[in-house]
């Protein structure tokens, strides 16, 4: 079945079975391997992408459901060291990354959440990322990074990515 979608700002067309998981379509057909599989049942959030602005686990979405949708994956954030988004930079400077496997999903959650709630408390951030499992960091530095970005955006308002 031919399915088109806007992926990271570009119109892409794939010919896949409609029930193929969006996760697999992204990784195999569009070669966007930044989106990871951690559990395949929507528990870990490693495969989280944005579909029409909503954070969704791409392992639970059939490709047929996203016909015409706007999809953002980690590859859509930035691809060169000079262009990293504020969240990507903060994840590095605040030590929010260790093994890096949960990082793409965590970043996408954070991006979506800060748009929804630009001035969150630490507890709200914890709640927002509670669908993304990380086994390395104990989460604290991830909260640090997201909080720092939110605060900076508050004091230096500009174009949020």
């Amino acid at each position: 079945m031919n399915i088109w979608m806007i992926v990271n700002g570009e119109r892409r067309e794939v010919d896949v079975p409609p029930m193929k998981r969006l996760l697999d379509t992204l990784r195999e057909d569009l070669n966007l391997t930044g989106t990871k599989e951690g559990c395949g049942e929507g528990e870990c959030g490693a495969c989280l992408v944005l579909v029409n602005g909503q954070a969704v686990n791409s392992c639970l979405v059939a490709t047929g459901q996203v016909q015409g949708a706007e999809i953002w994956t980690v590859e859509g954030l930035a691809s060169s060291p000079e262009e990293l988004t504020d969240l990507q930079s903060a994840f590095l400077t605040y030590g929010a990354v260790q093994c890096g496997f949960c990082t793409p999903g965590m970043l996408m959650t954070a991006h979506a959440y800060l748009r929804h709630n630009p001035d969150p408390t630490r507890d709200q951030i914890r709640e927002a990322i509670s669908g993304n499992l990380c086994r390395c960091t104990g989460y604290q530095k991830i909260v640090d990074a997201i909080e720092a970005v939110a605060k900076r955006r508050q004091t230096e308002p500009g174009e949020a990515p």
């Binding site: 930044g34 395949g40 030590g95 093994c99 993304n132 086994r135 960091t137 989460y139």
Partner: protein, 758 residues
């Protein structure tokens, strides 16, 4: 320059925040097949034969069983007991028996259903307490993988003169590593009959050493390359050898690359976990609450095969008495076989079990004496000059007193503990606070490091920098960044000039396994040594080229100086790289501590240096729902030197949360020899909601032979949260909990029982 002690952002971070880092499942090779494993459905059985459905079209499926193994059918580690594919006898549920591979994954799943294992069931042995005397034999005559006895002084004699003897029994379950990236490898057959394995792993050389006898190939025909590894925590220490063996057998038979990446359910159901078991303490105490004699019995369940279990047992035995002064100690530690999936390495490696036992027991002693948990520990802590359980005299770098006092002060332990003792009984929300201390030796036990003889190479690059070559892996813990900092500091060059390529056994020497909290302390020191050797080698070559005496050249401020010349490192490196080709310098481990160790009696210097930690945790327990909520965590850890404080904090926070999960949340349930909650839905690990911000204090009591004084760090934080959390919940509930995890179900059962009893 001056990179040591700086919170440098991780050097491999860019790839990880952009999705460009390549994990094994991100690799796709031409003509690649996907492999799958046919596993036993019984815990113990005789394997009569494998039936491949004759009505199924097998033409596009590659099939492998034990008869396809060219060499010895065993995954060698401590023993030769574990087959790559079961033959004749099945010893645990989900044991691999046969392999299939196919280019089409759907067809692969269909084919799996057309394989039948024809078996004759045997009586299974599940209870480790029965293993020694059971008629069922899994390993040798007594199902005993390893027994360790440690004797110091005269414990039975000293026990007689004790003012009081305190006894206790402490139980703990399995814990799953739950790295977010599941296990995976790709095996690629070579034209020369050899094979290359790409995979997520901690120990490339373990995989190499397991594959060569299995395949009957010389080491030069087996090449192992680590891919970006999405967490490991011990779980990728031994198992990748098994998975690599399977993929390689399929690759060699098919002549095509074979990818095997487990889904989460298979990963949880079949890979080794933290050893469950029981520890029994009997302690003689004098009138002042000093420990006179400790008798400790440890029983750990190794499952059906040996894996690394004897070494885990060694760690547990050495740490069994805790970081306390006691002249009379007797430890009897046993690792037994049962018909269950093998247990194995998990961060802490016997340490968390030992710490849980002894720390809960210290709380019991404190209760019997009517002193606080803090006071009983203060009276008995090891100090410089004391000897450990193995008779090792502590000469320096002992931060246990400092970490305990820091935690006691910051958490306001005494006041809160006293206040919570007197809180109203009928409140719905009750509070509790718990305390624990522990120590963890860095590096391999005893003469292990001498035996490993680890090597690190530094090589000049075509970009005027250096690259570090060794078998130690980056698995998220920060190896790349810390090694870069150490090398850049030793060479006096910019961090950007240091490269840390992933381990490849074809180009990297063996620096030992990435385990045992040894990477910074032991291998990091070798990076620094190799840097010095590289400077000496460069000086030698430059002297030859300039026609001057060796001692006419000196190195400082990032440049070589002689006869009025100043040649910056980068220019010298480029010049030598062009004129001399490969310029490499090596450093190899030498024992600088004069370690004396007897592996038979477990007497002597067990570790070159110990790291020390203390923790306090507070909980609020809802007496209606039985849900404990962690409200405060204060940890102080003496790790010698924080090469990268940001990374150290991350290790401590992450390790602490794993330990908290072990104490009150994480439970892998087993029924009839099989793990029943093998999905993330019911095999829980902590989320961001399960813990508050942790207060972490880094203490630096340097180890003179570590890089800049650094000691082991990786495992220490995971060792001690569980007993502190169990203590906090116990205080809140008003009942002792001596079995972990202390889940709401367990709390509810105990509270109900208590009410009925009253």
């Amino acid at each position: 320059m001056g990179f040591i002690g700086q919170s440098i952002p991780r050097t491999d971070g860019f790839g990880k925040v952009t999705g460009q880092a390549t994990f094994v499942d991100d690799l796709c090779l031409p003509d690649m097949l996907f492999g799958a494993t046919i596993r036993s459905d019984e815990p113990h059985a005789r394997l009569e034969r494998i039936e491949w459905d004759p009505d199924f079209d097998w033409s596009s499926i590659v099939r492998v069983d034990a008869s396809d193994i060219p060499g010895r059918n065993a995954i060698f580690l401590e023993q030769w007991d574990q087959p790559a594919l079961a033959q004749d006898v099945i010893r645990h549920h989900a044991e691999p028996v046969a392999l299939i591979a196919c280019a089409d994954r759907e067809l692969l799943e269909t084919a799996r259903k057309h394989v039948t294992l024809v078996t004759r069931p045997l009586d299974p042995l599940f209870d480790p307490e029965e293993a020694l005397t059971s008629e069922i034999k899994i390993f040798g005559e007594d199902n005993l993988f390893k027994q360790i006895e440690i004797e110091k002084g005269d414990a039975p004699g000293a026990m007689k003169s004790a003012w009081r003897v305190v006894e206790g029994e402490y139980r703990f379950g399995y814990q799953e590593q739950m790295y977010i990236e599941t296990q995976g490898v790709i095996a690629v057959p070579g034209e020369d009959g050899g094979v290359t394995v790409h995979g997520s792993m901690q120990c490339p050389y373990y995989v190499l050493k397991a594959l060569t006898p299995l395949l009957g190939l010389p080491p030069e025909k087996v090449r192992i390359i680590q891919t970006t590894t999405g967490g490991a925590f011990g779980g990728k220490e031994e198992y990748p050898s098994m998975l690599a063996a399977h993929a390689v057998l399929l690759a060699l038979k098919s002549g095509r690359p074979v990818k095997m990446v487990y889904d989460r359910a298979e990963d949880i159901a079949v890979t080794p976990k933290r050893h469950p078991g029981v520890i029994r303490h009997r302690t003689g105490v004098d009138r002042e609450g000093h420990l006179l004699a400790q008798e400790v019995e440890i029983l750990l369940d190794g499952g059906a095969y040996c894996t690394l279990s004897p070494v885990v047992l060694g760690r547990a035995a050495i740490a069994a008495g805790g970081p306390y002064r006691c002249d009379n100690l007797k430890v009897l530690a046993r690792m037994v076989a049962t018909n269950k999936p093998p247990s194995g390495a998990f961060r802490g490696f016997g340490g968390p079990q030992a710490a849980f036992g002894v720390e809960r027991h210290m709380d019991r002693i404190a209760e019997e004496f009517g002193v606080s948990p803090l006071e009983i520990r203060r009276r008995n802590l090891l100090q410089i000059g004391d000897t450990t359980a193995t008779g090792q005299q502590l000469k320096d770098s002992v931060g246990i007193g400092e970490v305990l006092e820091k935690v006691a002060e910051i958490s306001d332990f005494e006041n809160r503990h006293r206040a919570y003792q007197h809180q109203p009984a009928k409140e719905r929300l009750r509070r509790g606070i718990g305390l624990a201390v522990c120590f963890h030796g860095g590096g391999f036990t005893g003469a292990g490091e001498t035996w490993l003889a680890s090597k690190v190479d530094l090589e000049l690059t075509s970009r005027g920098g250096v690259s570090i070559h060794c078998g130690s892996v980056e698995m998220g813990q920060g190896r790349n960044t810390v090694f870069s900092q150490i090398a850049a500091d030793a060479l006096g060059i910019d961090l950007a000039l240091v490269q840390t390529p992933p381990p490849d056994t074809a180009t990297c020497p063996d620096s030992g396994p990435t385990a045992a909290s040894r990477t910074t302390m032991v291998v990091g020191r070798l990076v620094s040594d190799a840097a010095e050797n590289l400077l000496a080698r460069m000086t030698e070559l430059l002297a030859q080229q300039a026609g001057v005496q060796l001692d006419a050249i000196h190195y400082g401020q990032g440049a070589f100086h002689w006869e009025g010349q100043d040649l910056p490192f980068g220019e010298a490196a480029l010049q030598l790289h062009e004129s001399c080709g490969l310029v490499r310098a090596r450093a190899q481990f030498v024992d600088r501590d004069g370690m004396v160790w007897d592996p038979q009696t477990y007497r002597g210097d067990a570790y070159a240096a110990y790291s020390w930690a203390a923790i306090a945790t507070e909980v609020e327990l809802d007496m209606d729902t039985c849900m404990p909520r962690i409200t405060r965590v204060v940890a102080a850890e003496d790790i010698g030197k924080a090469i990268n404080p940001l990374s150290v904090e991350g290790q401590i926070q992450g390790g602490t949360l794993q330990g908290l999960g072990y104490g009150a949340l994480e439970e892998v349930k087993m029924e009839n020899g099989r793990f029943v909650n093998y999905r993330m839905t019911d095999c829980l690990i902590p989320t961001a909601m399960d813990v508050p911000d942790m207060e972490v204090v880094i203490v630096e009591r340097p180890y003179q032979h570590g890089p800049a004084g650094a000691k082991g760090l990786g495992e220490l934080p995971t060792d001690l949260p569980a007993p502190a959390l169990a203590a906090a919940i116990s205080q809140a509930a008003g009942f002792r909990f001596d079995e972990i995890p202390v889940t709401p179900e367990r709390i509810a059962a105990r509270l109900t029982q208590g009410k009925e009893g009253a």
